[in-house]
Symmetry: C2
Subunit: 459 residues, 2 copies
């Protein structure tokens, strides 16, 4: 038995720990498909126990990797340095919902869906809602600053979090932020921790800023001749004072794939790109808002727009988008899913460049995503049993990142760095800024025990 | 001649420096009325020169205080450690406006008004617009995270800045952030620098996120029997999906003062509190939006609401609010102007507590401010020639801060800490968080030359 296992046996009840490697196995993976078995898994029930666990790991000099439900795609939750995985399954309470002051306090293990449900009961929502909302956790949303489709109007977790509690790598517990929408006393540690992928502190509680639910929503499907026309429509839509509440994009490869997989999906023959545009507002104002946004979507290169006025009609329109994921799985057993971001006006250059890279490396690339933020999910479809194709995909990916940076973009909008993007971050980040980040890491975690080797932290 | 003066003579053209103490005198104050004469003033023209100046100060071990137009109220720009003041009068260019991607790049010496003008020419605005917009600078707005009345709908500088360039206390230049509305590669240094009052880096450039100008705005004046009724109306207004674009508050003391100073101002006798409510939206939607917001404002304790449909009518309604500043100056030559924040539902408790403190210490207190954020400007009116009253005001202020913290609030929404609030920050901030902030300060500025003794930095 390792010293870690021996001490955990003393510290935690049997239901709050796993010490057998076979039991620990499933806590070694996330959705990146990378895997490493931790030495032990702990399920703390409160912030005091989190503090004890951090102190224990620091004393023993072993790594501590925080974990939600493992829906991350970059390996940030994979314990490749061994040590302890801290899973938040037992710290998943909604502690307080205050509609008068528009906040909700929750533990990191609560799922995004549970938070939406608790907020929804009082007429509010928390704007970040990744596609995995039903099972991804608040802790993961904060670790990667994950937002999903509504960020175009409502922002990311950094825009929707008031304060945090956590434990630094020193083993000291601390609070950040305020319970108010303004506050400038001291440095902004709240936003520094959001997006830090568990490398600075283990979060134990978050105070989230709530937004009132809109009275009404509408959905428009707009079909374009080509991606350039769709991207110019995105620019027109984003120049209006009333932005859509979601502005999702699919390129021609995605449409080809949907046609092959779901030939009944009603799409005009000339469809070269699609925008799914959600609007929201008051009952009194929604028709005017939607009409204005639809007019902006219609223009040069627009083949047709369809509007859904009822939930059933909306569901029919979303069916096209929803056909994409099973189609992708059918075509290729492995997809390398990147979530690059470029300035909105550069989307056509991005898609054209991706087409060139796909041809050059003989790799199928399918693109869709959150066009209003310029956040495009670039999917390289590969056969994992073909080593030559895997190597070509790696070279292609390298070209994708070079392209994105040449367009003034960033390598990740909401998936983070984790393990898989570490080789690339020095291409994007200023070397002096990287040095400052390393200093911040040393301040919070002097012994480098918190998720070592992830995000911009040292190996 | 000091070594600093000698080197500045070599480094800078005569028009880009001040070395005579008489010339330096005016660069020693801000709107806190505190004053200290710097040893020299430099007016750099580009980021390279800023870097040279930081390196010079580091080598000589003298303090460097960055300065905009000195509209700050907390002494953050007062060079109480002597050394060099760096004034951004010659770095005030708008470098780029990109309406397609909704950004504007500017140097820190540009005024907020100049930025609004440049953004406005393409149909956009930058949401932060403090009352001093015409003469306060971007650098100061970023230093204090200053926002003004529209933050209730559009957020503060932290919500509206994409990236920064700056020079750390090490003398190294660096970039932070992205040109996109999403990005999670590396720690969020952009927001860490915003609100840090020049203690971590000297900013040389900022990429600001623009918002399309609304097509239409309307103004409602709502008069309440008492502050409790007004605060409950604020809660009702903030629970709606469509928030006002401004939600300003004046308490009974402010109304009494206006009555005395401007007896012609049309206010009902029963006025115990006033809300000024601005709405914005599309031409098509503004009437419905305004009607909905007006209905929410009307309710228990509401004496009357007036709505302005033309600019002239709006000006007449604003006249009441605008009478306040000259009234305050007439009543008392000195006001101690605090900008505390409490959760919106606690505004009645705050005002009741302030009434008690005013009576207890025999100090006149007038309250107004940004009610939608719970950000109340608390003004203690004192005669600076009366030492007993000044001492009473200090004791009263101490009570104000205790009250605010007991209500879950924060000591500053947008004025910052500077010199005047330093004695109080350890009451609000967690000691471990303060230690982490000190570590961040050491990382950015190991020799403590950047604005020493301000904000949470060491003395």
């Amino acid at each position: 038995m390792t010293p870690l296992a021996r001490e955990l046996e003393q510290l935690l009840a049997p239901g709050d720990r796993l010490l057998d490697p076979a039991d620990c196995w499933t806590y070694g993976a996330d959705n990146s498909k990378l895997h490493a078995v931790p030495d032990a898994v702990a399920f703390p029930r409160d912030a005091d126990m989190v503090r004890e666990l951090v102190r224990l790991c620091r004393r023993l000099g072993v790594a501590l990797t925080s974990r939600g439900r493992g829906t991350g795609t970059t390996g940030a939750a994979v314990p490749d340095h061994g040590g302890l995985v801290v899973s938040f399954e037992h710290m998943n309470r909604i502690l307080e919902v205050d509609p008068d002051n528009r906040w909700l306090i929750a533990e990191p293990g609560a799922t995004n869906g549970e938070i939406q449900q608790a907020a929804g009961a009082t007429g509010f929502f928390w704007p970040p809602d990744p596609t995995s909302s039903a099972y991804c956790t608040l802790g993961g949303n904060l670790a990667y600053n994950s937002a999903g489709p509504h960020a175009v109007k409502y922002g990311t977790p950094r825009d929707n979090t008031l304060g945090l509690s956590g434990v630094a790598g020193t083993g000291e517990a601390f609070r950040t932020g305020v319970h108010t929408t303004k506050g400038v006393v001291g440095y902004d540690l709240t936003r520094l921790l959001i997006g830090s992928e568990g490398t600075l502190a283990v979060l134990t509680e978050a105070t989230l800023r709530l937004t009132p639910k809109p009275e009404a929503t509408r959905l428009i499907q707009a079909v374009y001749r080509d991606v350039g026309a769709a991207a110019r429509a995105v620019s027109r839509l984003m120049a209006r004072a009333e932005v859509p509440s979601a502005l999702e994009f699919m390129d021609h490869s995605a449409i080809t794939m949907i046609r092959a997989y779901a030939p009944d999906c009603p799409l005009p023959a000339a469809a070269g790109a699609i925008l799914m545009i959600e609007t929201d507002g008051t009952e009194a104002g929604i028709e005017a808002t939607t009409a204005g946004i639809r007019r902006a979507a219609e223009g040069e290169g627009c083949v047709q727009t369809l509007s859904a006025d009822t939930p059933a009609e909306a569901q029919a329109l979303w069916a096209v988008r929803k056909a994409l994921s099973p189609a992708l799985r059918t075509v290729a057993p492995k997809k390398i899913n990147e979530d690059v971001v470029v300035p909105v006006s550069r989307i056509p250059d991005l898609i054209a460049g991706l087409d060139r890279l796909a041809a050059e490396h003989a790799i199928k690339i399918v693109n869709f995503g959150h066009a209003g933020n310029g956040n495009i999910h670039v999917n390289l479809l590969v056969n994992p049993d073909d080593p030559a194709e895997l190597a070509a995909a790696e070279r292609c990916l390298d070209g994708v990142f070079t392209l994105v940076l040449s367009l003034g973009g960033t390598l990740s909008g909401e998936h983070g760095i984790g393990l898989v993007k570490r080789p690339y971050i020095s291409r994007e980040l200023d070397p002096v800024a990287l040095g400052l980040m390393a200093g911040i890491k040393r301040t919070f975690d002097p012994d480098n025990i918190l998720n070592p080797g992830k995000a911009p932290g040292p190996a």
